[in-house]
Amino acid sequence: MAIDQLQVSHRLRNSPTYDWDELVQEDRVHRTIYTDPAIFEAEMTQIFGGTWVYLAHESQIPNPNDFITAKLGLRPLIMTRDDEGTIRALYNRCTHRGTTLCRWDKGNSRAFQCPYHGWNFSNTGKLRGVPWADGYADKLVRDPKYNLAQVPRVESYRGFIFGTLNLDAPSLADYLGPIRRPIDEWLDRNPGGKVIVCEANRMKYKGNWKLAYDNSGDGYHVVYSHRSLLETENRFKDEAASKGMSYYQVASPDDLPAYIHYMGNGHHFKDKRPNLKPKPGGLWEIESLHPGMEHVQDKLRARYGERAEAMLDLAGSEPVNINIFPNLSLLGNHIQVFQPVSTDETDAIWYGTRIEDVDGTLGEEALNDINAIRMRTQEGFPNFGEVDDITNFEQIQRGLACLEDEWIYMHRGYGIPGRFQTLEDGTIKGPCTDELFMREYIKEWKRLMKADPNIQIRREPTP
């Protein structure tokens, strides 16, 4: 497909001139990277524009002409799938006066008509017509500049749709790099290696978006920030196994087989699977108690015998945190998206996933039972864990109002010889409570903030 590239004017490159090496040091960062509105504004181009950003999942627009609305940084988007199946990330902005065209969260439509003056666009972004066209000196539909702007590079990896405005960014596959392995494993544990996005637990906090990304691989906070959760899910002392993340409650969690793994390009992976018993049912055994659990467990065990354990694991929360810079986190069975709103406000959306009986091995009844339990397991953490984390994020933002107390430390593990292992592919492994991943991803953040990305938009060509 031919692409009309329209160079974005250099007057947009108003990146503030900070000494980024002063603000982001080896072991600490300056408070202003969380509090300065000018830095936030620069991030919306340098990060949410300059690198690949997660936009949506293909299962949210499965059919021709399906659409959902989404965001790239603060830019409102319409994610469309056209008649031929091509996915686009259109700017939700009329080329006439700037009005958003679509105010619905999702739907199915070949065209979008601006509610303000009636300009009509197809779901490819092309201007189809304007009211009383003879009032314009030129034929607007023949000039590509009136077609909707769209994200020039949109690529998928196994159903996850990403976009970037930076024509010089590497391919999506190269950008993801080694983090693809845990993504593959996260998908491949499900039938057919796929998940379907269903509804979401949607939260908001009054704090900078990076506070959520700082937390995404943090094994140090679990026992403290989630103390109420750990106590609640282990309140019955007659259970055969400790539930949930209580494996952290040992004398030295750094000696656990779980580990943190920095994967390059700002991505990181906390793998808690080695804490499980390596057997079918090993995940289900530590799953905390959820509505309907015993009913489905007894039913599947009676019907399927030993096979039931692996089926029950499909409803369990996979103990991984796969964090893809800057805004995506796969954890448990969730697809969590961090959505910046302003310097000190962020939306954190926990999309649930369900599975399909791709090859007919589960049967309809077992599939429905597993998915029902899977819904309940997914509601657990947002309700009993995340609310405490986001409260702590808000209280960090408040603490950062102390102007003179400038530094935030992320140096757990830093300077201890032999604590980390750098593998052949350049990735780095360390103990599971280590802040290694924060130090590494913020270096990538700093690199992007200093960079001069080739930011462009595109519009459909007009024959």
């Binding site: 269903c198 009913h295 007894d298 939306d347 369900r354 029902a372 309700n383 009993f384 609310v387």
Partner: protein, 198 residues
């Protein structure tokens, strides 16, 4: 599992079956509040209005153990994530609790480490527009009400608003809540600290 253990719904969850989900979805199908089902007798309306006002008072006073007494042993507490309610078997809800998980919520508040409720929110709940409807069973009533919860937390007051559907069931001569569906107006939007019981 012995029958008596299975009946201990504070400890084990055996009643959340496909059939129970099906009943819930059918009882809360949108037409339950059509005029055809409306019960116009004032005495009955007063009875249920009193029960909803009492529930609001108990929750405002954070008397959670007393609140649980208003519910059946096999109850559901359901805050859908979509305005139409949907089917909790295939969709994530904002909250979907059985008896044990409701008790989990209360247990968590009581640990002293539930940071999202330390200190606790203060609430003032208005319940209004109470209407009572017949249901599929003679021993069952559906009650619709509108609510506005003013919540003071972290130095600010916000309003959580919407409508609730209560499914009451007659148990040993008393009407208990067998399901409460709380329909927040902004149920499908990002909500700051959604941690109080609605």
């Amino acid at each position: 599992m012995t029958a008596s253990a299975a009946a201990d719904t504070s400890r084990y969850s055996y009643y959340v079956t496909n059939e129970a989900y099906g009943d819930l979805v059918e009882d809360f199908a949108p037409d339950w509040q059509d005029d055809d089902n409306l019960i116009t007798e004032l005495a009955e309306r007063d009875l249920f209005r009193g029960k909803l006002e009492r529930e609001a008072r108990i929750l405002d006073r954070l008397l959670f153990e007393e609140w649980l007494e208003l519910y059946t042993r096999d109850c559901f507490y359901w805050v859908p994530g979509t305005p139409n309610g949907g089917d909790p078997r295939t969709e994530i809800a904002v909250m979907f609790d059985d008896r044990r998980r409701l008790e989990d919520r209360i247990y968590r508040f009581r640990t002293g480490y539930a940071w999202s409720q330390a200190p606790s929110s203060r609430t003032s709940r208005l319940v209004s527009n109470v209407e009572v409807f017949k249901s599929r069973r003679d021993d069952q009533r559906m009650v619709r009400s509108n609510f506005a919860i003013s919540e003071f937390w972290d130095g600010e007051i916000r309003v959580l608003a919407g409508w609730a559907g209560h499914r009451f069931r007659k148990v040993a001569g008393d009407w208990l809540i067998s399901a409460k569906q709380v329909n927040l107006l902004n149920c499908d939007q990002c909500i700051r600290n959604p941690s109080i019981i609605l």
